[in-house]
């Protein structure tokens, strides 16, 4: 079947040109500095050092981390019960519900985020509604609250879908076996269902936490200037300040960070050892397509 091997050549070219070479460029920029917009070729780690020396930059990292954690935690808190609730319903119903949950992710992210601007603004619907009860008007826009709502709104489906997937993939006879052996529904959930759903939970956390750390769009639109996250920091370096070297270095730091977290997730997954989740699954679910 040697004929078909040749098929991969065009893509090899694409990979090299559009993935490997660009990454290489980031590395080159990161380890050099520019004088008067000309790239020097002295290798230096000055850019990295600068990042870690200055406490402002560390706080940027921490802020991103914090936002990621909060978003993930809330998505998990809401997402797991919803996923579980869906898994209890009839199969056909489940399919439709999953579809309904997936549809918002097809709508342009900017558009979806933007819609919250009008809802949360001081003359917006929410305040209008609260005014009927004599509350407000609350200053909701450009606050932490708005950013987190925006983040949850865009991330929630990506927490629900993998958890639901792992819940439904579970062998139903395991539940029956557990009840057969005397465990009531609550114990069955705690000892059987939940542990076996952990791979899905892990996938969900991966798909929410990692993008959440590196985001900058949502905080920029819904938040005020108080939000400087790594994502927006990098953007500023490139677009506003024009320090491509420093920006590249920070990008590498972010990429490395993500890589470390991914390996931690993989290790955790191997530890829970329920063979289903693998990298194909993570990628397949990263943007969940309808079946």
């Amino acid at each position: 079947m040697h004929h078909f091997k040749k098929l991969i050549s065009p893509y090899l070219f694409v990979l090299f040109l559009f993935t490997l070479l660009p990454m290489l460029l980031i590395v080159i920029y990161a380890i050099t500095i520019s004088k008067n917009e000309v790239l020097t070729f002295t290798i230096t780690f000055e850019n990295f050092q600068r990042f870690f020396r200055d406490s402002i930059f560390i706080s940027v990292l921490l802020q991103s981390f914090k936002l990621g954690l909060i978003t993930t935690a809330i998505c998990l808190f809401i997402g797991y019960p919803v996923a579980y609730a869906i898994s209890l319903l009839k199969e056909k119903t489940q399919t439709y519900l999953i579809l309904l949950i997936t549809i918002p992710t097809w709508i342009n992210l900017l558009i979806r985020t933007y819609s919250w601007v009008s809802i949360l603004s001081s003359k917006g619907i929410l305040n209008n509604f609260l005014a009927k009860f004599g509350i407000g008007p609350l200053n909701l826009l450009y606050t932490d609250f708005a950013v987190i709502i925006g983040m949850i709104y865009s991330c929630l489906p990506f927490m629900i879908l993998p958890i639901h997937s792992s819940l439904t993939k579970m062998d139903q006879s395991l539940h029956e076996a557990s009840m057969d052996l005397g465990a009531n529904p609550m114990i069955t959930f705690l000892k059987i269902t939940f542990p076996l759903s952990l791979p899905g939970v892990l996938t969900g956390i991966t798909m929410v936490f990692l993008p959440a750390i590196s985001t900058f769009v949502i905080p920029k639109i819904l938040g005020g200037a108080q939000y400087t996250l790594i994502g927006s920091f990098i953007e500023t370096q490139f677009i506003t300040i024009g320090n491509w070297n420093f920006g590249s270095a920070v990008s590498l730091i972010l990429a490395a960070f993500i890589l470390i977290l991914m390996s931690l997730m993989n290790a955790a997954d191997r530890y829970t050892n329920s063979g289903d989740r693998d990298e194909d699954e993570t990628r397949r679910l990263k943007r969940y397509a309808k079946k």
Binding site: L174, E176, A177, S178, M179, D180, G182, L196
Partner: protein, 347 residues
Amino acid sequence: MKKLIELKNLTKEYSGQVVLKGINLDIYENEFVTLLGPSGCGKTTTLRIIGGFLDASDGTVIFDSYNISKIPSYKREINTVFQKYALFPHMNVGDNIAFGLKIKKMPRSLIKQKVADVLDLVGLNGYENRDVTLLSGGQQQRVAIARALVNEPKVLLLDEPLGALDLKLRKGMQLELKRIQKEVGITFIYVTHDQEEALTMSDKIVVMNEGSIQQIGTPMDIYNEPENRFVAKFIGDSNIMEGIMLKDFLVEFDNQQFECVDKGFMEDEEIDVVIRPEDIDILEEGNGKIDGVISSIIFKGVHYEIIVETNNRSYLIHTTDVVEKGRRVSLSFYPEDIHVMSRMESY
């Protein structure tokens, strides 16, 4: 013997289809009962109703004189061995088995002892710390049995547990299960579609078809005295013909009258007759009851499977005698080999 389970008029309907049509069955202590029938006959449905995984549309399940129809499965003193074992993949062998005992809050030392004992019973000594997902099919099977038995239920339900095993292993496990049942001394309710399996293991067989019970009896009864055409066809090979019961001990089929040992039918009642292939002898032409020609011979190892064409039909015969194709012969059988059954319409 004490009655342990009574199924009274169990009916089950699934989206318009009636899957169980009023099942009435009594099951006693220390019995190995098999529900036998083809796919879709309702045997697994019945089992699941007994186990509490399914609610009957109508009828009651009485266990130990109590109506348990509304009681959920986790409160019933019945345990199940599932078809695909349903072992918890995130627990090792020991924890799987101990699961039910831990729920009952038994002291740890006692649990340890019981787990070891039951592993000994199923022949898996020392397997406590093994990973269940790495075990072979037969081993997983035994762990599933151990996990159920360790809770000392009064009744063990087994849902086609040997289906996934290869033939030799299956035959070995059949004997194992029988041994375990005798040793532990509890009731086993076993579901299978394999009639040989049922005949090997059971004290009592319940033959089912299309949601109703066709016959209940010992393996011998079912095999030798099938009550109708379905049972006769389902169990073992058979020659089945339509006939008329002229009067007690006299039956007519294939335009001939034969002496037989059955009675209790009405005069000239239309009936079905079954004769087992191994009960027919092949004799020289003219020496037997029905004449015919040998049309095919297949060597089956244990015996030859021979087809003899007569005027009215072909007969299937199992014999170790050697014959040649095309020979004109005569068939013979004893009166007690003729079994008369009530006529079954449309089967």
